[in-house]
């Protein structure tokens, strides 16, 4: 369903729509990103809990979208927890007994987890808790639900190593009108995230607070500080929630289905404060023996009582070892006591698009996680969603994810409006021209120039590329001729001349460039004094430059390199720096080495040798991208990130 949604045409947000501020909640009836109409809002400011769930309608039906309240948007630990939940849900994949996660989207800097919407039954019930509040369930029906729950947990555990849900409770066991049970809410999940194959790291807090029933006003689990819901928490989860195993989930399962059978909770806890509630719950789970089910429910078979009581053993070692084992015991009870063979629920197999969406979501989670991990960017997130989406686009560009880069650029264009930021026009048009989407690129740039007719310089690269793609050679040439000659202009001229077949002009430009660079180097080296610091792109470069200069300018005294201190990027400070000259010399030499340019031998062979020594074309690629790449691969809060960020994204400093 979500896949189709993601393919719908994007529509700008309504006039006046701003980035969500603190306490912001999309109101019922609002249209988000032109795709989803808000039908219902669950939770949010004023309610307990930190999450908020929107029930959204679209042309493909209803979906649920979970996110966190904006007042917690600066809580890095909470965001990490949300991202971990989302990543876990994606990795779990598809199972009929787990609420299906369609994917993640970042909407105006906030991540939303899009999920299957489970319909209410005619009585309005949607969870096991709702059903239990309305009527007594028959034992075979409870057994069927319990086995379905085991099925879901077996799948989840197989998909995500060492997964512990930590918050199994009747409210989190949804039941579709057809009777299919679906486990939901992995907000407190703990698992061994393989950092190489999943999203955010596992970093949990384990300070218990929180809850009670769904009806006593303490019902929502307090993410960020809580580690479960006391009424369903295993004794060991009160002590060390961080290190619980699946056996804690088996205990919680026992609590849920004890309650389903008995029609009342495992323990009745009377308390006047949340802390007292936790303390008493902890005491009872640790020391009180459960009342046998038969005392509440005479029709409960002894074999079922035994299965549930084994789940509820105080010592984890005495519980069922895993959900597969538990499932088999329950199936046997259903068969032996009621003559019913359990039929697993089925679901249509996932479509390739479903898998692709989950894949895209994992990629997006990586980028978002990295972006919010950078303090300087995090600070900009809420007041400048435009810059945040642009920065995410940069992340995906440097990580070779062009599709996601394009999506983020489109979002940046949408949240801010095209007239106010040139950065997105430049980057988006660049991508569109590269992808051959000339009409869209043209419309985007025309719109920009209609508002800012004197600012073509801001979008010069994509504009020239667009003219070249349309074979408007003369127009491109006139435009470039109006600009002061520079390396930037030269790059575009070379692009133009190559496309229009005027290769002799490229040879002229690049010969001049090579000579200019050599002259620069001669002057710089002449000014060096022994003991000076000299900057280089990477180790080995001094020797490479010596090789070039020995050939290109034998008159230069290279011995000076032996009497200076060599500093390498990114540690070089304000000192003579050879990396730019070497990068541009590699470009010039690389072009002149092309036989099509007609440089005579041995000149051509000489340039080919230089290009090889300088590592063309990787040298210029690295030189152009190195600061941006470092931004996304270095330490997130490296102080050096701020100036890099601001130079890469001048929009970040815009109001």
């Amino acid at each position: 369903m979500y896949d189709n949604l993601s393919n719908l045409p994007t529509v700008p947000v309504a006039e006046g729509a701003e980035a969500p501020a603190d306490e912001f909640v999309w109101p019922v009836g609002a249209v988000i990103e032109g795709r989803y109409r808000v039908e219902e809002v669950l939770g949010g400011p004023g309610h307990s809990g930190m999450g908020i769930v929107y029930i959204l309608n679209s042309r493909d039906g209803r979906v649920a979208a979970k996110t966190f309240q904006q007042q917690f948007a600066m809580d890095h630990q909470l965001i990490q927890r949300f991202l971990r939940e989302a990543a876990t849900w994606m990795l779990i994949g598809f199972h009929p007994n787990i609420v299906r996660a369609y994917g993640i989207d970042i909407i105006e800097v906030v991540p939303y987890l899009f999920m299957e919407y489970v319909e209410r039954d005619p009585s309005g019930a949607v969870s096991l808790a709702d059903r239990l509040a309305r009527r007594k369930l028959a034992i075979p029906e409870i057994l069927d639900l319990a086995i379905q729950c085991c099925d879901g947990m077996v799948h989840a555990e197989s998909a995500v190593p060492d997964l512990v849900h930590r918050d199994l409770k009747p409210e989190n066991l949804l039941i579709a009108p057809d009777g299919a049970l679906k486990i939901t809410d992995f907000g407190l999940v703990r698992c061994r995230m393989n950092q190489r194959t999943s999203g955010p790291p596992d970093d949990d807090a384990s300070q218990p607070t929180g809850d009670g029933s769904g009806s006593d006003g303490l019902g929502l689990t307090q993410s960020g500080s809580a580690i479960g819901t006391p009424a369903y928490m295993a004794p060991e989860q009160f002590v060390d929630a961080e290190n619980v195993t699946r056996l804690a989930d088996i205990y919680a399962f026992g609590c849920c289905f004890y309650e389903a059978i008995a029609g009342r909770r495992l323990f009745t806890i009377r308390s006047s404060t949340p802390m007292e509630h936790i303390t008493r719950a902890r005491e009872m789970h640790r020391t009180h023996a459960p009342v046998p089910l038969e005392a509440h429910r005479p029709d409960c078979p002894a074999s079922l009582d035994e299965v549930i009581m084994t789940c509820l053993e105080k010592d984890p070692a005495n519980r069922w070892a895993d959900f597969a084992d538990l499932r088999e015991r329950l199936k046997r009870v259903l068969k032996d006591e009621f003559g019913i063979a359990y039929t697993p629920r089925s679901m249509p197999p996932p479509a390739p698009r479903d898998v692709a969406n989950q894949m895209r979501s994992l990629t997006l989670l990586d980028g978002y996680n990295r972006a919010v991990g950078m303090r300087h960017l995090r600070a900009h997130r809420n007041r400048n969603p435009y810059a945040f989406h642009l920065a995410l686009a940069s992340y995906f560009r440097t990580h070779g994810e062009p599709e996601e880069e394009l999506r983020q650029l489109r979002k940046a264009a949408r949240v801010r409006g095209r007239e106010r930021g040139y950065e997105v026009v430049r980057r988006l048009a660049d991508r569109l021209v590269e992808d051959g989407e000339l009409d869209e690129a043209g419309a985007l740039m025309d719109e920009f120039l209609a508002r800012r007719p004197d600012d073509v310089d801001f979008i010069l690269e994509p504009y020239v590329a667009w003219l070249i793609a349309r074979r408007e050679w003369d127009r491109a040439e006139r435009l470039l001729a109006d600009h002061t000659p520079s390396l930037r202009v030269e790059q575009m001229q070379v692009q133009l001349y190559r496309a229009s077949g005027r290769l002799d002009r490229i040879a002229d430009l690049r010969r001049r460039r090579a000579h200019t660079v050599i002259d620069n180097l001669r002057r710089t080296i002449a000014a060096i004094a022994p003991g000076d610091q000299i900057g280089w792109d990477q180790p080995g470069d001094p020797d490479l430059l010596k090789q070039i200069l020995a050939d290109a300018a034998p008159d230069i005294d290279l011995a000076v390199f032996d009497r200076v201190e060599h500093i390498y990027w990114p540690d070089m400070a304000a000192c003579p720096d050879f990396s730019a000259d070497m990068a541009w010399l590699s470009v010039a030499a690389g072009d002149l080495a092309d036989p099509a340019l007609g440089a005579p031998e041995p000149e051509r062979a000489r340039y080919a040798r230089w290009a090889r020594i300088l590592g063309h074309p990787r040298r210029i690629e690295r030189y152009v991208d190195r600061d941006e790449l470092r931004l996304w691969t270095g330490e997130p809060d490296n102080p050096a990130a701020a100036p890099v960020l601001l130079s890469a994204y001048p929009s970040l400093s815009e109001p």
Binding site: I92, G93, R196, T197, R353, V355, A356, M359
Partner: protein, 112 residues
Amino acid sequence: MQIASTEVNGVTLIRVEGRMDAPAAPEAEDAFREVIDAGATRVVIDLSGVEYISSGGLRVIIMLMKSLEKARGRLVICNPSPFVSEVFEITHLSRRIPIYPNQEEALTAAAT
């Protein structure tokens, strides 16, 4: 899931069988890393035995692709099922990883 690798004319051929999903991803990742650690730069993955691939499985392939890109190597896929083929199309991975209908063409492409 089963993974076996052999070398054919300087190209490492990895044959994967079974579901390439989240539970299988760590095993695949280890196997691919062994291939990289052994110095392989030209790799073909034969997916004829893979009927289903999840996002977890795709990520392992992407990581292999990136490792090979860094080493200036090449990754080629062959024999994807219609399901796998469509996943590669939708994720646009097919633009980044050449896909061939049979092993022979894939090996030739990887070797050149």
